[in-house]
Amino acid sequence: MAEAFDPAEYAPIAAAAIALPLPPEDLGGVIAAFAVLARVAAPLMAFALPEDIVAAAVFTPDDGSAS
């Protein structure tokens, strides 16, 4: 079974991967904000999508009125 996810452990490591400094005075707020994202992401990630649902852009030809 996967270990429980801990935003406090994850945030500094992920920030380092993109060279993003996390000032100590902001760390608590960042962890709290990321925990909110993690909470809403969990049921979304558990929602199975059909494989034919793709995120690619859709080309829709316009009616020629654009200049």
Binding site: P23, F34, L44, L49, D63
Partner: protein, 377 residues
């Protein structure tokens, strides 16, 4: 301009010469000078420009030409819209050092072409990432109905300026509710158009795959006449639809006849306060609406929008988050920093969910024209 006067009536009186655009705009500037101190809706007032443009409207009429369907209507815009001569600050301290815009945003130009007169720029949450317009750099915008309360956000200045009768028309923007929420909290009308229906050229975006510009006004009719002036393709905004104009003002006189209307059930009946849900029920009852429809997985749609927004907003500002995070508003900084840390799988799944949700709602809207929900919980 009386407090309840419609934009149609105001512009008609200017077009007929019953009053001048100049005196109409002067009166708006006087109201802003007298009333904005308490509300704090404006971050800039374009007085000189407004008076010059108003005089030009009067000159056009005097020459026998039509000054347009919004002749002499004072308007103001959320300060993420480009206004020639002003830096586009988008509620930030950082962007104050940007060069002034060299021309107006597309929607500002369209309102001006219709005869409306820009009188200023309006307060907002920094980079549109908020719902309260409690901006640390420029102060909070207060709700004109109760100055101890928030106006909502992120287009709080745009809603409060209309609610306080400082100006009858404003423009805001909406990513996940930034027109709908402040309109509801300030008791005015707001329209978030379908994504891609109005040009965003010259707007400082927040989350490019969700952002839309739109008007605030004092009635559905005011929104309709403004929306009709704002419509149209624009090759400068790659997501702006190339569809022909669809005038809405003539549709209003048709009333509800033939419209299929329903109240949203499920998620929308469980997430709001009883007062908000009760308000929708009273409107439905007055209109004789009893049908209920369920929007599938609405809570997950909100989650997907939150993830997409946080990632796109953070990526847009990543260089500044790395180099000068301390200059961000403390009220938005943690959210932007957290958005930069979001795993790619969440983002891709959120975008795929969005496609699925779009397909589901397209099917639903084949059976219904209007779905009523509370605008804010």
């Amino acid at each position: 301009m009386s407090a309840g006067e419609s934009l149609c009536a105001l512009s008609a009186s200017v077009r007929k010469g019953e009053r001048s655009a100049f005196e109409t705009v002067e009166a708006a500037l006087a109201r802003i000078a007298a009333g904005d101190g308490a509300v704090n809706a404006f971050t800039a007032v374009t007085r000189e420009r407004a008076l010059v443009e108003a005089a030009a409207i009067d000159a056009t009429r005097a020459a026998g030409r039509d000054p347009g369907p919004l002749a002499g209507v004072p308007f103001a815009v959320k300060n993420l819209y480009d206004v020639a001569g002003l830096p586009t600050i988008a509620g930030s301290h950082i962007d104050r050092s940007r060069a002034p815009a060299v021309r107006d945003a597309a929607l500002v130009r369209r309102l001006s072409a219709a005869g409306a007169v820009l009188v200023g720029a309006l307060n907002m949450d920094e980079y549109a990432y908020g719902f309260s317009t409690e901006n640390t750099h420029y102060g909070p915008t207060r709700n004109p109905h109760d100055l101890a309360r928030v106006a909502g956000g992120s287009s709080g200045g745009a809603a409060a300026a209309v609610a306080a009768s400082l100006t009858p028309l404003t423009l805001g923007s909406d990513t996940n509710g930034s027109i709908r929420v402040p309109a509801a909290l300030c008791g005015v009308f707001g329209l978030r158009p379908t994504y891609g229906r109005l040009s965003r050229a010259g707007m400082r975006l927040f989350s490019a795959s969700l952002d839309a510009g739109g008007p605030f006004g004092r009635s559905a009719e005011d929104l309709a006449i403004a929306y009709d002036a704002l419509q149209g393709p624009d090759h400068e905004d790659p997501v702006c639809a190339g569809r022909a104009l669809e005038p809405t003002l003539p549709e209003l006189s048709k009333g509800l006849e033939g419209l299929r209307i329903a109240v949203a059930g499920g998620y929308f009946q469980s997430q709001g306060a009883p007062e908000a849900i009760g308000a929708v029920e009273r409107v439905a009852s007055a209109l004789g609406i009893s049908r209920r429809v369920e929007l599938p997985a609405a809570g997950l749609a909100r989650a997907a929008a939150m993830i997409v927004t946080s990632v796109e907003g953070a990526e847009l500002h990543l260089p500044d988050l790395i180099a000068r995070a301390g200059e961000f508003d403390p009220k938005t900084r943690a959210r932007f920093l957290a958005g930069a840390l979001t795993p790619g799988a969440w983002v891709s799944h959120a975008q795929r969910f969005r496609r699925w949700y779009c397909r589901e709602l397209t099917a639903l809207f084949r059976t219904v024209d209007v779905i009523m929900t509370p605008a804010a919980p």
